[in-house]
């Protein structure tokens, strides 16, 4: 159906109102979380089963695909709007649950088996509005389901960047508009001057969410004042930090939010061309952006004379090609130009000379996503959230050894403990907290004594780490910190573009030393050598990849030096991770001779007669741990040290 372009604020308001009526049409609605992680847990099968059920039952129930609401540990997640009642969140839904779930929904009842939380009103953050689902009294079975304010994972969270994730169908621009989408762009382009917009962004205190934390308003200002044409705005959706997937979820759940932010930014800066650079490892995100861009063009939000303001703006999408270094701004721009992702010296900033040597304003996904919020709700409101130096909220990917793995969005200033223990539920399986790694490969590991540190741009940097893009990887006593340092170096060595000596040679040499330490060949003087290398990599590298590469090593050396000493001086791994520094032994008293381990051992290192205690030939054993996993009698013991030496 050919869509008429929306060219005025009035028209937008009309579309918003009718879309809102469709969004909250008083009919039962089933939303299935189908972002990448949802799909990986089987959400497609759940979706199909639910559709089947609805068809069979002939009930008037709408089934909608939606993005990720952050509760990844609950997936597959299905939310159901019970008309006149509330919105119920169901967790761990399986295709076999479909009949009962649809039946309950048709009856206006809760499917109690899987209900974990309820939302009482549909939020419209951009308009400071909440529309209650309830008409009349809450039914007793609905009341029994705890509201989000009493669900530990959701309590304490504040969804600004994730405002639409899990609430809209990301492939529907109408639903985006229903939530107040594109009204901020309309306001900015028709009611505000570029200077006013930049002022607003400055006053809000919005800082770059990609890790740099630079003042967004100041960046826009400098770019605006660079009098060279043409100018570009760029969205960095390369999200390279392993363990971080906040940006992916925002793109998959709410792609238009980024486009709207870029429209406002382009107008403020004076750019007419924009690029969204998405890593190629995110195919669903690429698909969502492509569709959203087409829709935005059809509706007239992109193209010529947007909202009759006289401002023209188009956006193209480019994919990355598998290079972490392309998250660095100059390397990203090189990639956009069709070249390899080699950074260049930034003595002249990219806002003055960037893509094709023109002024380029590059911002992260979450940053662009926050822009319409600042314009819609105002700088005053925005700066009331967070801390003195870090305004607003931040989305974190809370992963690793934590009970509630997922995406968490909280006001800046909450402590690590609040995020990891209160929201995250703490360490599972009886483990003990050991460290939390923040800031990706540029960051560091923070030990337990600093759990009460507020999380914002500056506090974690003081500890030697950084907030980075928001990755928060929790580690317990089964994690070896020396191994973690080695892991990050292996990653960085692989991703180094190879242009400059300190990074290319330095990461390789650091990795050599750490590998030797992890494999029992550590030598006195190694720590000092690591320190010397670190200092020069920090000072002499061309870009932040090499410049921050030593951070994981430096923080682990600082806070976990005892572990390094154990590896180097005593040739043992206290966490029992480093394969060369542990030994597997079968306890003859516990072994029942079931032969399971002997069959599973890839090196055929286990021998023994049936029903007789087995033995592991240490010379063949590679300590892969498959036997330990398979033993039902806990008869295989892992001890520190290299065994026979």
């Amino acid at each position: 159906m050919r869509q008429h372009k929306i060219e005025t604020r009035e028209h937008l308001a009309e579309v918003r109102d009718s879309a809102r009526r469709a969004l909250l049409d008083g009919k039962p609605k089933v939303l299935v979380g189908m972002a990448t992680c949802g799909l990986a847990t089987g959400a497609q099968e759940v979706f199909d089963a639910l559709c089947d059920e609805v068809r069979k039952s002939k009930l008037d129930v709408r089934i909608v695909e939606t993005g990720c609401n952050g509760g990844c540990f609950l997936e597959p997640v299905v939310d159901v709007v019970l008309p006149g009642q509330a919105r119920i969140t169901y967790a761990h839904v399986e295709p076999s649950d479909a009949p009962s779930l649809i039946e309950s929904t048709g009856d206006g009842k809760v499917y109690e088996k899987l209900a974990i939380g309820r939302i009482d009103a549909e939020p419209f953050l951009l308009e400071d509005l909440r529309k209650n689902y309830r008409r009349g009294k809450l039914a007793p079975d609905v009341k029994k389901v705890p509201p989000y304010s009493r669900v530990p994972f959701f309590r304490g969270q504040m969804h600004i960047a994730m405002r639409n994730c899990g609430f809209i169908d990301p492939s529907s621009v109408e639903e985006y508009i229903a939530k107040g989408g594109y009204a901020a762009a309309a306001k900015a382009l028709t009611e505000m001057t570029p200077e006013q917009i930049i002022d607003e962004i400055k006053t809000s205190g919005l800082r770059g969410r990609g890790g740099g934390g630079f003042s967004t308003g100041r960046k826009w200002d400098t770019c605006r004042n660079a009098h060279v044409e043409p100018k570009y705005v760029i969205c960095n959706a390369d999200e390279g930090d392993p363990g971080a997937y906040m940006d992916r979820s925002i793109i998959e759940g709410d792609p238009h939010s980024i486009i709207e932010g870029m429209i406002i930014g382009s107008y403020a800066i004076g750019a007419h061309m924009g690029y969204i650079y998405v890593r190629e490892e995110y195919p669903l995100a690429v698909k969502r952006v492509r569709l959203a861009l087409r829709q935005a063009e059809e509706f007239g939000f992109l193209g010529k004379n947007i909202f009759g303001s006289g401002h023209d703006f188009t956006v193209r999408i480019n994919r990355g090609a598998g290079a972490f270094v392309c998250g660095e701004s100059t390397a990203l721009m090189a990639s956009l130009e069709g070249r390899v992702g080699e950074p260049r010296a930034k003595y002249i900033h990219t806002v003055e000379s960037g893509l094709w040597s023109r002024p380029s304003c590059l911002n992260n996904v979450e940053t662009w996503n926050n822009v319409p919020v600042v314009i819609a709700r105002g700088a005053q409101w925005f700066s009331g959230i967070g801390t003195e130096g870090s305004k607003g909220t931040k989305v974190f990917s809370l992963v690793g050894k934590v009970k509630h793995v997922g995406l968490v969005e909280v006001p800046m200033g909450l402590t690590l403990r609040q995020v990891i223990e209160d929201i995250g539920g703490g360490i599972p399986d009886g483990g003990a907290f050991k460290a939390v790694q923040t800031g990706g490969p540029s960051g560091g590991c923070i030990p337990a004594e600093y759990l009460d540190t507020p999380v914002d741009f500056d506090r974690l940097t003081e500890l030697g780490s950084m907030m980075g893009s928001g990755g928060m990887i929790v580690m317990d006593n089964h994690t070896c910190m020396v191994d973690i340092a080695r892991y990050f170096l292996a990653f960085l060595k692989d991703e180094s573009c190879g242009k400059c000596v300190p990074c290319r040679e330095g990461t390789a040499r650091m990795l050599d030393i750490l590998t030797d330490i992890c494999e029992g060949r550590g030598q006195p003087g190694d720590i000092e050598l690591l320190g010397d290398l670190a200092a020069v990599m920090v000072d002499g590298s061309l870009c932040a990849l090499g410049g921050s590469a030593p951070n994981p090593v430096l923080t682990t050396l600082k806070y976990f030096s005892a572990e390094y000493r154990a590896h180097i001086e005593e040739r043992r791994c206290p966490a029992k991770v480093c394969r060369a520094l542990i030994t597997h032994k079968i306890n003859p008293e516990k072994c029942t001779g079931c032969t399971l381990c002997a069959n599973i051992c890839p090196m055929k290192a286990i021998s023994g007669e049936k029903k007789e205690p087995h033995e592991i030939d240490e010379s063949k054993c590679i300590r892969c741990g498959l036997c330990v996993d398979s033993c039902r009698f806990e008869a295989i013991e892992v001890s520190e040290g290299m065994g026979q030496e």
């Binding site: 010296a345 003595y347 060595k493 190879g498 040679e505 040499r509 050598l529 290398l533 002499g540």
Partner: protein
């Protein structure tokens, strides 16, 4: 932003002036201050890869290390070219380069100047994997050869491949490069003697570039003196008559002086057009 006027600043306490757009390295060299810079050459653009030319620049209360080959100074910058932080950085870079290229004399000499005789790094990566250690390279990946072939000769016959420690300089597919004219500019500009060519039996063999090109014999003395491709390029580019183009430099001598002068006149006008 650099403005279109001279910049007044200091190097090692000495008051100096940079022309608009001039780098710290250039100013320093003009004043006889020696700063090592292996990946730098006047004929090509600055690259900032070796990092040896780092200097510390102070402004206000802050400072940072910058590569002097690229950095253009701001008014009142205070540059130090040889303090402890700078030397420590250069020392480590040389230690790393020496570990990579133990047989390259120019690196060994420079390293010794900074107090490095043997690198502390264990280069046993191959041994750890049970493989024989590879022959150490002479290439420091400075890229001068790549830039000279691209920017000066204009052939772009070689470039990098891979990334990180796998990075190498090569022809496409490590095979005979059609774009190579065998001019030898890359060999000339290489600071570590990592590239070579040999003229044997009427062929120029660009060893490391896996490229062999037929040489043209001089019309007069019959000795092979340049590759056919190179001669063809020069002939076209400068619009030379065949007699001149296909005669070797030794034989051109007095006989063709007239034509040379004529051609030089042509050269001046063509190069100004080509700018």
């Amino acid at each position: 932003m650099t403005e279109q006027k001279d910049v007044q600043f200091t190097i090692d306490g000495q008051s100096v002036r940079a022309k608009p757009g001039e780098t710290v390295l250039s100013v320093a060299r003009r004043h006889g201050i020696d700063i090592p810079a292996l990946c730098h050459h006047e004929s090509v653009s600055a690259y900032g890869a070796c990092r040896l030319c780092v200097v510390e620049v102070f402004w206000g209360k802050r400072s940072k290390l910058v590569t002097s080959c690229i950095y253009t100074p701001y008014e009142n910058d205070r540059v130090e070219t040889n303090n402890e932080r700078v030397r420590r950085t250069r020392r480590m870079i040389l230690e790393l380069l020496l570990a990579r290229c133990p047989k390259v004399e120019v690196i060994r000499d420079l390293a010794r100047e900074y107090g490095v005789d043997e690198p502390r790094f264990r280069t046993n990566g191959a041994a750890r994997e049970g493989k024989a250690p590879p022959e150490p390279t002479r290439c420091i990946l400075c890229g001068l050869c790549v830039r000279v072939c691209g920017e000066v000769v204009g052939q772009h016959a070689i470039s990098y491949a891979n990334r990180g420690m796998e990075r190498v300089i090569t022809t496409p597919f490590a095979d005979q490069a059609e774009e190579c004219v065998g001019c030898g500019a890359c060999v000339f500009v290489c600071p570590t003697d990592a590239l070579h060519y040999e003229d044997i039996d009427g062929q120029r063999i660009m060893k490391e570039l896996k490229t062999t090109l037929p040489l043209l014999k001089c019309r007069v003395c019959g000795r092979p003196f340049a590759t056919e491709k190179q001669v063809a390029r020069i002939r076209e580019g400068l619009n030379l008559p065949d007699e001149l183009a296909e005669t070797c430099p030794s034989c051109r001598g007095s006989e063709f002086r007239g034509i040379m002068e004529q051609t030089l006149g042509l050269v001046q006008s063509t190069t100004s057009q080509q700018d």
